[in-house]
Amino acid sequence: MADKPIQGEKRVFMTGNEVVAWAALAAEADIMYGYPITPQNEVMHYWTRLAPKYGKRFLQTEDEISAGFTTCGGVLAGKRAFTATAGPGNTLMQESMSMAEMMRIPTVLVVQQRGGPSTATVIYSQQEVTMTCYGGNGEGLRIVYSTGSHQELYDYTIKAFNTAWKYRFPTFVLGDGYQAKMRESLYLYDPALKGIKMETTTPYLGLEGMPGVDRDPSHLRNTYNTEEELYEVVSDLVAAYEKIAPEVVEYQTFNTDDAEVIIIAHGVVTRAAQAAVKTLRSQGLKVGHFRPVTLRPFAAQQLRDIVKKAKKLVVVESAQGQLMKLVKDAIYGETVPIEGYLKPGQGITGEEIVEYIKKGM
């Protein structure tokens, strides 16, 4: 058996899907369950080639419902288990992720967003924000990292395993088709080299000792008999989520201190937004950018503090206002006008943001 998959640190040039497979290996993931859907397929292609060399496993399931539930099973068995999907596959996985939410099963799911609704395109979009944050018949008790580069795909896939196992909420890495298929330079590294210690995993089922003799059996359920019983369970879940949220929340700001116009964008679109701010600043225009990294939980207070001095917010996204809904929810009561530059299922360049902002100033 080979040693650590990544020794030290090395510069590489590869696609985002390959990055995810390497990150899962570096994070000491034990098993991947998956079902083919574009644009995430190469996560499986690389995992199936690399994993056996390091004693890791893979199961190709019959559909995404099964991929989600087998992932839950792997985690319940005490292993770092993950899956990856997109679009309609993400829709099918909401059922299992809702069970993960209820039973605090630390699953890791990498989503490479494709166009929607329905089958739409296999290319790119940011239309799985609402579903990834709030899908399922539940309360959205998940952690969602929206990445914007290959380096972040690597960093946050590793981090997702630790976040999931530390806080015991299903954790998502929300990428997109551009990040999945594009090649880009990044550093792969051994997490230990950066002082990252992988959280210990513990089994929920198949514990040591004779149940009923040495210990109580592990009896796990997600169904309850009375309204009062359920209310108590969900209240506890919500309280636990709200307690950890401030520790988990991540965001970035670019030139927001004196900004009159603030561009809000997430994922790969942050790169266009950052480029636009640079250009507009060089022309003397007071424009800044706020980027939520976690979409759940959302940096609500931080955004509220920033927008107080602004004259206008412009939400830029490759969806018809899914990020905008999160923003409005976060800053409810603020009077700053909000505009949307919304292109569902289509990429957005820095140049077109510059043009849009200048027209409105």
Binding site: Y33, R57, L59, T61, I65, F69, G73, L205, P211, L220
Partner: protein, 249 residues
């Protein structure tokens, strides 16, 4: 003098009496399973998964690690456990709706992949928990809440032949049988062989158990028993359907 009946060692006494309706067959199937677990000495290695529907009421039935899942999704959950920890003995316990309708793709594909898990499916010809609707196993002309004038095979097909289907798609190494709560000793034998098959790592094992639902059938004890013993076997043949070839001594 009160005499407590003998319970399998792997049963959890604290959760008895169980939660099933009077006359329900689940208790008998779970007794057969409990005794099989005892006799094989695997209580500390079993992971028991139960489905949605009446089977969920078994979530705290045993002194074994257990997980109650979603409707139809128990097969993938225990498959996920088994793939991650092959040393565990994984059981998926479900009803006919969970196995043959909403979760049929999981049953078919777990069987086709020869997953080293054991599925036990209770066939009572209807959906019990939701109030007696037609199931894939409802008999022709049988009245249910969604076939109030009787199941019309022209409109809704014939009862699913589950074990026969599983036997048809599995290869060597699988174990498939249909037992009945009318013969618990035989049923226990089937379940024991199914578990043994998993222990030996041969392949997928599947046992369907014919069972009764007096609550939704609206039958008294005599009629319930007559339906299980006489009517159901006309459509569902009891016996071993597929067993791995005996290894040469």
């Amino acid at each position: 003098m009160t005499k407590v009946p003998n319970m399998p060692k792997s049963w959890r006494v604290e959760t008895k009496p169980h939660k099933f309706c009077p006359g329900c067959g689940h208790g008998l199937v779970l007794k057969a399973l409990g005794e099989a677990i005892d006799e094989l000495g695997i209580q500390d290695r079993v992971v028991f998964g139960c489905d949605i529907g009446c089977s969920l009421l078994s979530w705290d039935f045993f002194n074994v690690d257990s997980v109650q899942t979603h409707h139809g999704r128990t097969t993938p959950v225990v498959t996920g456990v088994k793939r991650a920890r092959p040393e565990l003995i994984c059981i998926a316990y479900m009803g006919d709706g969970g196995g043959y309708a909403i979760g049929s793709q999981h049953l078919v594909n777990a069987a086709a992949r020869n997953e080293k898990v054991t599925a036990i499916l209770v066939n009572n010809c209807n959906y019990g928990m939701t109030g007696g609707q037609m199931a894939p196993t409802t008999l022709p002309q049988m009245k249910t809440e969604t076939t109030p004038y009787g199941r019309d095979p022209e409109q809704t097909g014939y009862p699913t032949q589950g074990p026969e289907m599983v036997a048809a798609i599995t290869r060597e190494g699988s174990y498939v049988a249909r037992g009945t709560v009318a013969n618990v000793r035989q049923l226990k034998g089937f379940i024991k062989k199914a578990l043994q098959n998993q222990i030996e790592g041969n392949g997928f094992s599947f046992v369907e158990a014919l069972s009764g639902c007096p609550t939704n059938w609206s039958t008294n004890a005599k009629d319930t028993w007559a339906f299980i013993e006489e009517t159901m076997p006309k459509y569902f043949k009891v016996g071993e359907i597929k067993a791995p070839a005996k290894k040469e001594e």
